[in-house]
């Protein structure tokens, strides 16, 4: 095997150069399993000769690796024997950049991580900052409900994007357009609210950047009225389609124990039947006041993950309807002089307000010393934000626990023994966002 590109330890190397432990990991054994279980997984029927296998690079530029994920697959015929995900092609040092940006500016940075659900990123960063500031209990009601509204709509748009890419990866090319079409409706609403389709920087420490625009309720209702019908169409095109089922059922199976050992969260964990949803199990915002079901699967296969996401769109719609009914009046951000810039009108009248405004956007606000970890349920699983502060206006260290990054660990395990076509289905069903993986 000749190596042209070298990614160091990330490369898939010939079996002869590896220890038994490394081979086991690459064929998809889960480290925290018992010795016997791990040995069983590592125990290949026959150790194939090097000249019978082919190492193939899938990515970093490949139509179905969702951006720049690179997989090295060891194939025997079309069967995947080993798999190693190689990451870092989209690494832009966002966590390090986060240390240079003030807490006020941090939102622009984190929103670019999981670009399919930016509002969730901003939300978790803002919540972590608020917790450090000690103002997490004082966020106005309306801000909380608005955050929830945006978060749920973002979940819908993210899952709709999944519907599109999952369909496309399995060859149902029309699905790609349909998924995008529906997602676009949601994004259009975001654009109206935040000014941008993606990378909004709308959820900020202390509340939100602005109030909801006039007529927002009608816009949301229009989305809610349009979607159920379209989701029925998805059911016809995909859920009930025999080829679709054949392609997904029993593919990329993972058991609850394995999923937990690998740290998988979100739809991947729920597909195995583990009921774990931070919205219900560690309620944040006002999720304890709305009614929704945590959708779980049974078999832990790609079809379950697809079905869960489809059902979660419906659950999110249910939550959004409740939010519409209960959206309180009031302020959309905390009236704390420390973190809230003064209203626009005050700047014209008061010198102090002008200075305050200038200071808050150039220097930012100082955050007390301490460290904090806040986790919420993003469409991909548990997204967590760890911030250590040394009392300055910028974080001393910021780390984001990215669900995609952790979920990607499952790939070797899920792909083991599948065909190349299954590998594509598995990547798609994990639904990684590479911006978040590499950060």
């Amino acid at each position: 095997m000749t190596m042209i590109a070298d990614e160091g330890a990330q490369e898939l190397r010939p079996r002869s150069e590896l220890t038994a432990r490394e081979v086991m990991r690459e064929v998809g054994a889960v480290l925290r399993l018992s010795e016997a279980e791990a040995a069983k997984l590592g125990d290949l029927p026959e150790d194939p000769d090097e000249d019978q296998t082919m190492v193939i690079n899938m990515g970093p530029s490949h139509p179905s690796t969702h951006g720049v994920l690179r997989l090295m697959l060891e194939l025997q015929g079309e069967t995947v024997l080993r798999c190693k995900p190689i990451i870092g092609y989209l690494h832009t040092g966002m966590e390090k950049t986060g240390e240079q940006l003030t807490f006020m500016q941090g939102g622009t940075n984190v929103t670019r991580m999981d670009y399919a659900s930016p509002l969730n990123n901003e939300l978790v960063f803002s919540m972590a900052t608020e917790k450090l500031l000690g103002i997490d209990g004082d966020i106005p009601e309306r801000a909380q409900w608005m955050r929830m509204l945006l978060s749920e709509l973002n979940r819908m748009s993210s899952h709709l994007l999944f519907m599109a890419t999952n369909g496309m990866d399995l060859g149902a090319v029309s699905m790609m357009i349909y998924g995008w079409r529906e997602r676009e409706e949601v994004l259009r609403f975001f654009q109206k609210v935040t000014g941008l389709r993606m990378n909004h920087n709308f959820v900020r420490p202390g509340g939100l950047a602005a109030d909801l625009p006039a007529g927002w309720r009608d816009d949301v209702l229009r989305i809610l009225d349009m979607l159920p019908e379209r989701l029925e169409e998805y059911d016809i095109l995909m859920t009930g389609q025999p080829i679709w089922r054949e392609r997904l059922q029993g593919v990329g199976v993972i058991t609850p124990a394995e999923a937990l050992a690998l740290g998988a969260t979100g739809p991947i964990l729920r597909s195995t039947g583990v009921e774990w949803d931070l919205r219900r199990d560690q309620p944040y915002l006002r999720y304890d006041e709305v009614e929704f079901d945590v959708v779980v699967g049974t078999y832990g296969d790609a079809f379950d993950r697809y079905a869960i996401r489809l059902a979660e769109i419906r659950e999110s719609m249910r939550i959004v309807r409740q939010i519409l009914d209960r959206m309180p009046e009031g302020d959309y951000r905390i009236q704390d002089k420390k973190v809230t810039p003064p209203p626009r009108a005050r700047i014209d009248e008061s010198m102090e307000a002008l200075i305050h405004h200038f200071k808050i956007f150039t220097e930012g606000f100082k955050v007390p010393e301490g460290e904090v970890y806040v986790a919420i349920e993003s469409p991909r699983g548990e997204i967590g934000c760890y911030i250590a502060s040394d009392g300055s206006p910028t974080p001393y260290r910021m780390h984001v626990r990215a669900p995609s990054f952790v979920n990607i660990q499952c790939l070797p395990h899920m792909m083991r023994g599948g065909l190349v076509a299954d590998a594509v289905a598995v990547i798609s069903s994990v639904d990684p966002v590479l911006g978040e993986v590499d950060r």
């Binding site: 029927p45 193939i56 690079n57 079309e78 399995l170």
Partner: protein, 411 residues
Amino acid sequence: MIAAVPMVDPVLDTDDWWWQPLAVVGLKVLVIFIIGLVGTMFMVWFERKIVAGMQNRVGPNKAGPFGLLQTLADGTKLFFKEDLIPDRADRMVFRIAPFLAFVPAFLVWAVIPLGGDFTGGRDGTVTWFGETTRVQLADPPVGVLLVLALSSIAVYGVMLAGWSSGSKYPLLGSVRASAQMISYEAALGLSLAAVLMTAGTLSTSGIVANQSSITNWHLLSTGVVPFVIFLIAMTAELNRPPFDLVEAEQELVGGFHTEYSSIRFALFFLAEFMNVISMSALLVTLFLGGPQPLYLGGVDVLAFLGPFGGTAWLLAKVFIFLYVYVWFRATLPRLRYDQLMNLGWKVLIPIALGWFLLLAVLQVGRDRNVGQTGYVVLVVASLAVLVLCYLLFQAALAVARRNRESEGAAY
């Protein structure tokens, strides 16, 4: 050369001026070549437009009226692009492969009756400019076999293209291609055999002449099943969705043509679309009476077109299938490799074989004049054989499954 003309077209009168038959054949070659190219061009446009419509898009609309010239523009663009040959490629084979795919796609046109007057025992001949001839380039007695042979050659094009690229994805594509096309050729051939048996001839014009009215269409006279099998096998043979594993953009990037660029890629592209048209035409020829008119209330509604009526009917019927293929593409997800093989070997071939047996029995009964009781005996006996075969088949599958499990092939 002139002596060869009667072999190509037996109806042609060679006693005329020596150049006349040659001119007729030459003209037909030219017309078919042009029609083939232009038809392919519009097929690409048609597909893009229909798929766009199904996907809420506009589709090509800039080049020419309704974007009709889009393919021409794309072709011109491709023609002027750099023709890359990978370092590790087998240069000779890499260069030849596109032609191996492209030429057979064209040649199929030669034996397809493109029109003609099949009424009143005219046997599909027309008299144009004093020459009595068929509206088809050649009518060899082995017409249908020629088509099968050509489609087998086309497999080489795809296979060699992938193999000679010296790259991994194309290699996987070519392995898939050879396995897929060879296995589906079996099902294709078996469903074809049903038609040939009913028609009693291999000549394409003979097959068309045999389907004089809708009840005689082989679609009905062979009992629909061969038609369905032919349609499915043909889709696989054409590498069209949902059987486009050979290209499988999402898995193999482009499959066998990943490394191809410029006009060589365009040749593969053209070959694929041309195959779609020519195989649809073959399907219509075999099962739907080709240029035979469909009498609605005893009237040929396209009779006013005169000698072009047959061609119009053929086009109308072919269009249905062109649309069906586009429809498949817009709707269905792709099958996986093993599922494709299962469908081919475990479903299509056994059914085609069984149905062929049944038709053969009926044919024998008809030929021998066995009478009603004879028929019953024959049918019951053949059904018994079929049931036996089915049971054996299931047993074989079960044994194979057990073996696989006991060998511990976890994969």
